[in-house]
């Protein structure tokens, strides 16, 4: 991972930035250099543009890559110490530094249960209002998606819905979703409907994994929504819910559905 990151950063940071990062990482690997001084300087040394990494890291910036590299270089010697240091860097960091720490956590923590320092970090991150910090904690291969305790994970997913973030970017969401999350999502739908507001279409596929009472009826109703995105989402969610009571309505709509993609979703 470290050499891969160094190559990516080098390709975009320019000669001086690349040399700075190589030198800093070599020093940290050898137990020299002050991580607390190198870490905040990374953005102005290597830049803040897109890193150009492959999925699921396509949203990383160059300075994210550099900061993760710095932490990986330091962790070669003492992983647990580095997790505590990473937590301290997070709590004293600006937004870019916080994102850098969060992106590094999955690589630093090999403990399946989650290291206490890493958990404290990610718990703070899912409570903040700053979008880029929350996203780095939860989305893509964010540490929170795997390690947040169930209750905190559900709250974070609900917050992602509230912020209008694409739920498909929460890695492993289907495996961690449960009946309690579905119930919360349906409550959210009711709250939105009572206020006369729209409901994000990607919510249904998550709620349908453990369908609470009333959900299937709502989805059946959505099959007649004038917007094809809602119909497609309903078709997909009904398939996941697997409730036989919906079948006649699905067949009926499939026979009349003008949108090819929605029709295909209804027939599967």
């Amino acid at each position: 991972m470290l050499s891969e990151l160094l190559a990516l950063v080098s390709a975009r940071a320019g000669v001086d930035g690349a040399a700075w990062l190589d030198g800093a990482c070599a020093g940290l690997s050898a137990g020299q250099g002050a991580l607390a001084e190198l870490f905040p300087a990374a953005s102005r040394r290597v830049g803040r543009g897109p890193l150009g990494a492959a999925s699921p890291r396509e949203y990383w910036r160059v300075d994210d890559g550099a900061r993760v590299a710095l932490l990986l270089a330091a962790s070669g010697r003492e992983p647990t110490v580095t997790l505590a240091a990473a937590r301290d860097l997070y709590f004293s960091g600006d937004a870019r530094e916080k994102v850098g720490v969060l992106r590094a956590l999955p690589w630093l923590d090999s403990d399946v249960a989650g290291d206490p320092a890493a958990l404290a970090t990610v718990l703070d991150a899912v409570r903040v209002n700053q979008g880029e910090i929350f996203e780095a904690a939860l989305l893509d291969d964010g540490y929170g998606a795997r390690h947040l305790p169930p209750h905190e994970f559900r709250k974070a997913v609900l917050k992602a819905v509230f912020l209008g973030l694409p739920l498909a970017r929460i890695a492993g969401l289907a495996a961690r979703a449960d009946a309690e999350l579905s119930a919360s999502l349906l409550d959210y739908v009711h709250e939105r409907e009572a206020a006369g507001r729209s409901v994000p279409v990607d919510l249904w596929a998550v709620a349908a994994l453990h369908p609470p009472p009333g959900l299937v009826a709502k989805l059946v109703g959505l099959l007649e929504h004038p917007d094809s995105r809602h119909r497609a989402a309903a078709a997909h969610a009904l398939r996941l819910a697997g409730d036989a009571r919906a079948r006649p309505f699905v067949a009926d709509r499939a026979a009349r559905e003008p949108d090819a993609a929605v029709a295909a979703a209804l027939r599967t």
Partner: protein, 289 residues
């Protein structure tokens, strides 16, 4: 018109002020650390304040397309408070390495005490060590003598004059500071310090070189639109667009770019907000309608 507001204490202002500033042409603000009115009794309160300057205020500003930079320091008034002065000094180095920290400031004199002498001098040394310019407050009382003493200390420390912005000037201090080679800041206030008409008269008399105008808006009676209003007055008095741009944008950018941390291309490209497009990915935040 684009404005770099080089001195605004946004922590004391409401979010609506950011919105009004953005509509008046402000594309960037620099918030120097200062005395927040209520004396602080412990170092931790300063750290939370500094964290706000590099964190929350940046986020608040970005929502209106404004870039937020800051200057970090132990302010002159609280340099006299032994409960906090040395403890704050010990924490400054890690903040001075942070991105978006473009200067050490506000430092300088309030009452011209021996403690102020000591911490002013020590912070000028810190600025040299971290490669940062200095934003220097001058006293409200006995201003001329305060400015003279400031110049003397800058020379004693060997601080490069072109890396010092001496703020809150008035008619009496202008010749002194121009001769020194320092940059000149002017705080345009509703009642005190300097007003738009006097400011324009100074610019007519002394030119626009190294001249920087700010609102210094804070918890007192002040107005975050004073830089824009001064620009309007300059236009009414016949200043060319380039001269106005130099005073309200070009000069502060040139001064703070001496930090090596102000990316002009980035600044001219517009906001780095949470809402911006990143790799074509746009996410609408907050509740969708």
């Amino acid at each position: 018109m684009r404005i770099f507001e080089p001195h605004a204490h946004m922590i004391s202002r409401v979010t609506d002020d950011y919105e009004r500033m953005a509509m008046a042409g402000v594309v960037a603000v620099l918030e120097p650390a200062f005395w927040v009115g209520q004396p602080r009794t412990r170092v931790g309160t300063f750290l939370d304040y500094f964290d706000t300057l590099v964190g929350w205020e940046r986020y608040r500003a970005a929502q209106f397309g404004i870039r937020h930079y800051c200057a970090i320091a132990l302010n002159p008034k609280e340099a006299n408070d032994d409960r906090v002065n040395e403890g704050v000094m010990a924490e400054l180095p890690r903040y001075l390495e942070k991105d978006g920290v473009l200067a050490v400031g506000e430092i300088g004199y309030d009452d011209m005490t021996p403690r102020e002498d000591r911490f002013f001098g020590e912070q000028l040394e810190l600025a040299k060590k971290h490669g940062l310019p200095a934003l220097i407050h001058t006293p409200h009382r006995d201003k001329k003598r305060g400015v003279e003493r400031t110049m003397a200390l800058l020379r004693e420390v060997g601080f490069p004059m072109e890396r010092a912005l001496v703020d809150h000037n008035n008619e009496e201090t202008v010749p002194l500071v121009i001769d020194s080679g320092c940059w000149l800041g002017f705080s345009i206030y509703p009642d005190t310090k300097m007003d738009e008409d006097r400011m324009v008269a100074i610019l007519e008399r002394s030119g626009t070189t190294r001249m920087i105008v700010n609102s210094a808006c804070d918890w007192g009676k002040s107005d975050p639109l004073k830089v824009a209003k001064t620009a309007v007055r300059m236009r009414q008095r016949g200043f060319a667009a380039e001269a106005i741009d130099r005073v309200v944008f070009g000069n502060p950018v040139e001064f703070f770019a001496q930090s090596g941390r102000l990316d002009r291309a980035e600044l001219e490209a517009g906001p780095d907000s949470d809402r911006e497009l990143f790799e074509g990915n746009s996410v609408l935040r907050g509740q969708t309608r």
